[in-house]
């Protein structure tokens, strides 16, 4: 219990102190210490191994309520100030709904906090990956041009974010869940508009209103829950299983789709690219979007078959479509962003499947996706800061200048698709699971097709990037120095990936043989050869006998606008189907 309390409060404290410190050295040291402690705490919590449940003191609830109202008022003010009607209206709507909910009197809930297996894993991801990203951000933000206070504020916000995320994955109370949900919305809003320019403000507003739809959804679920069962407890909600319970769940699923930036809502996540890169890193890997599969995972046991099928179908559809959409993009972070959207689709699809294996699969996907995406976004930041590369078309002579970044990008992508990395196993067992489910519903054939197609499109996507980074000529290196914190944070994530692989062995019969022998053969033998190759005679590329170097660009497989719109409609239709399924 105290561990969890610490996990919830320590980042807050860290954030507060950092805001006050002026010296960069001291700030970095403090941040580092906080991160180390957080990591230790989350590991301790994980190894602790038991489910922890407890209730929070009642006084806190009052504070929460006040916070909620303040927050909504803030949104309302932002909406009016920025003249954004959707923001203002949604804030108003939420305010009304919230006031309505808080007027009712649910039964006292036995526990506000419940930390089970899923939560423990989520805590690990949030604190370790998030912590590393914060360390990276220390270096990153220093190279921005802004006041000291603002820089420190940035770090503080990130810590605050960790705290909120820790809360969201540990709470079992819909009310607290709502607060945390809204807090993430607020934080993402603040972080996205951090640079303060025109584009940043516009994108932040968009993120704000889209995320508020999720808030409305949660409030609706709360109302249904309170009205029908007089409870705000997640656990309770899951056990009721009657039609109203399903309706509440369906509404909550919408909240998940919004946070997961699933198809019709993907714009807010892509818009978040304007923020400093650590923000994208943290949004995509450790925080925010991971709420989506988490919610579905939590709700899945209570799904009706129809809900389970439609959510799976929706997820796999998003997986495929988002991958295809990414193929036409040129902005590196946008590519990463859409691939996140796609993979979240996969996670949600798997989470919704009613099978015991699915939990394990989704967790593995969450963990490895978090690490890989963090690694990739760190590289995106490094490329921006050290080389001023943002678009694929800028990537020139990267390998010659910084082979480390290239290999990190390669590993980041590889770990999303290839054996022996974890995400591969996640996908692999997803497919196995789906195939074994075909006999239950022919729908799974369609899902299977979507997912296999999506996977190849993603592979295509990763290689589209690798085309630009991998290629290099013989000789001639003009290496560029990468700042130490950048490098170490990347290595740390790489280390995590490796540890992850080792921990994977034994899961589902993935034996040492399957993992290590191929890895050994594939990687070690060539590495042994490497030294011999180093000293071989070099020859130029074949250019039809000519000497002039030809330009090698990237490939784009852009979907026509109309198709994208159609995909959005299809996704919206599926969402409507989910709602409908809940209602019936």
């Amino acid at each position: 219990m105290s561990l969890i309390a610490l996990l919830l409060t320590l980042p807050l404290a860290g954030a507060a102190i950092i805001l006050l410190v002026r010296a960069v050295r001291v700030r970095d040291l403090l941040a580092f210490l906080t991160v180390v402690i957080l990591v230790a705490l989350s590991i301790a919590q994980y190894t602790g191994g038991m489910t922890v449940r407890f209730a929070l003191p009642h006084s806190l609830h009052t504070i929460f309520m006040a916070a909620d109202i303040l927050l909504l008022l803030f949104f309302l003010w932002r909406g009016m100030h920025e003249e954004s009607r959707p923001v203002a209206l949604l804030a108003l709507l939420q305010l009304l709904l919230y006031l309505y909910v808080s007027g009712t009197d649910p039964q006292a809930h036995p526990f506000d906090i419940e930390v089970g297996y899923i939560s423990r894993i989520m805590l690990l991801v949030i604190n370790i990956v998030g912590g590393i990203i914060i360390l990276y951000a220390l270096e990153y933000i220093e190279s921005e041009e802004m006041e000291r206070m603002k820089k420190n504020g940035f770090i503080a916000l990130l810590f605050f974010f960790l705290s909120v995320m820790n809360l969201i994955v540990t709470t079992d109370n819909l009310e607290i869940f709502f607060l945390a949900f809204e807090l993430t919305t607020l934080l993402s809003y603040l972080l996205i508009r951090y640079r303060g320019d025109e584009l940043a403000r516009a994108n932040a507003i968009r993120a704000l209103w889209m995320n508020q739809i999720g808030g409305v959804a949660i409030l609706a679920a709360m109302i249904i829950s309170v009205k029908s069962y007089h409870t705000l407890s997640f656990d309770a909600l899951l056990t009721f299983g009657s039609s109203w319970g399903v309706a509440a769940i369906a509404v909550l699923i919408i909240a998940a789709f919004v946070k997961g930036a699933s198809l019709p809502f993907e714009k807010w996540l892509l818009g978040a690219m304007v923020a400093p890169t650590p923000v994208s890193a943290i949004l995509h890997s450790a925080t925010m979007v991971k709420i989506a599969p988490y919610i579905i995972l939590k709700l899945a046991p209570a799904f009706t078959p129809f809900l389970s099928h439609t959510v799976t179908l929706f997820g796999s559809f998003v997986f495929m479509t988002a991958s295809v959409m990414a193929l036409g993009r040129d902005y590196f972070k946008e590519i990463l962003g859409l691939s996140t959207v796609a993979l979240l689709g996969l996670m949600m699809a798997m989470a919704a499947i009613d099978a015991t294996e699915s939990v394990q699969i989704v967790l593995v996907l969450i963990v490895f996706h978090a690490i890989s995406k963090a690694l990739l976004f760190l590289q995106a930041g490094i490329l921006e800061k050290s080389f001023h590369f943002k678009y694929l078309s800028d990537f020139e002579y990267l390998y010659e200048r910084s082979p480390m970044s290239v290999w990190m990008i390669v590993i980041g992508f590889a770990s999303l698709t290839l054996p022996p990395f974890g995400a591969f196993w996640g996908k692999f067992f997803s497919l196995e699971l789906l195939i074994s489910m075909i006999s239950q519903s022919p729908l799974y054939i369609l899902v299977l097709v979507f997912i296999t197609l999506g996977s190849v499109f993603l592979t295509l996507l990763y290689f589209k990037v690798l085309t630009r980074v991998l290629s290099h000529s013989t000789g001639k290196t003009e290496k560029v120095a990468i700042p130490a914190l950048f490098r170490y944070s990347s290595y740390a994530l790489f280390g995590l990936l490796t540890v992850g692989i080792l921990l994977m062995s034994g899961w589902n019969g993935v034996g040492v043989f399957e993992l290590l022998l191929p890895a050994l053969l594939i990687f070690v033998i060539p590495l042994l050869l490497r030294w011999q190759l180093r000293s071989s005679e070099r020859v130029g590329e074949y250019r039809c006998g000519e000497k002039d170097e030809a330009e090698i660009g990237a490939y784009y497989f852009a979907l026509p606008e109309a198709q994208v719109r159609r995909a959005h409609y299809a996704a919206a239709a599926l969402i409507a189907l989910v709602l409908l399924g809940g209602m019936l």
Binding site: G475, E537, V539, G540, Y542, E546
Partner: protein, 192 residues
């Protein structure tokens, strides 16, 4: 292990036209066609210098093809043989002494086999290839440098880099006297 005897069983061909009338080039195609079927000897028309053993050149070397000729030659891994196919490739043939040709490819790269004929018939091409195979078998793996337009491969830390070995010819390359076919200096230059 000594694999040199397999060289003659698997000669892959790179064909380059250094300014011929394409009469001989058509005959190469004819030699690959069912009637003569060069593939009987394991010949593959690889079209890629890096995977070829026999450099089959036609044409008397026009100015613009000089540099390409040397570049392709350099990209071929040793052991390799060069076949000059057709009279104009051997000595310039009917183009000998024209202002934009170099009178035979052996001004630029070392030639192992000369096939006469204008055009050299598939029969002669097969004869030449068979001859070349014997030579190929006896060759060593030592690097043979092209004769002209050649900057030594750069060697750094023990790594030899032949990626930029053919130089663009500039006006400063040779004096007009040197370019005359039978000037004595010109031949001397090539000896060393």
């Amino acid at each position: 292990m000594d694999f040199s005897r397999y060289r003659k069983r698997s000669p892959w061909i790179l064909h380059y036209n250094a300014g011929s009338c394409n009469g001989c080039d058509i005959e190469i195609l004819a030699a690959l066609s069912p009637r003569y079927d060069l593939e009987r000897f394991g010949v593959l028309n690889s079209g890629n210098p890096k995977q070829s053993d026999i450099f089959l050149v036609t044409g008397p070397v026009t100015y613009r093809s000089r540099e390409r000729l040397v570049e392709l030659y350099n990209q071929m891994p040793e052991p390799k043989v060069v076949i000059a196919l057709g009279s104009c490739t051997c000595t310039g043939g009917v183009f000998r002494g024209m202002y934009n040709v170099e009178d035979g490819i052996d001004r630029y790269i070392p030639v192992d086999v000369y096939i006469p004929g204008c055009a050299a018939s598939p029969e002669l091409i097969i004869d030449g290839v068979v001859q070349a195979l014997d030579i190929l078998e006896k060759k060593t793996k030592e690097r043979e440098n092209a004769k002209r337009l050649y900057s030594e491969p750069t060697t750094e830390n023990g790594i030899t880099d032949r990626s930029n070995s053919a130089q663009k010819i500039g006006t400063g390359g040779f004096s007009p006297e040197e370019m005359k076919p039978n000037s004595p200096e010109r031949r001397e230059n090539e000896e060393d």
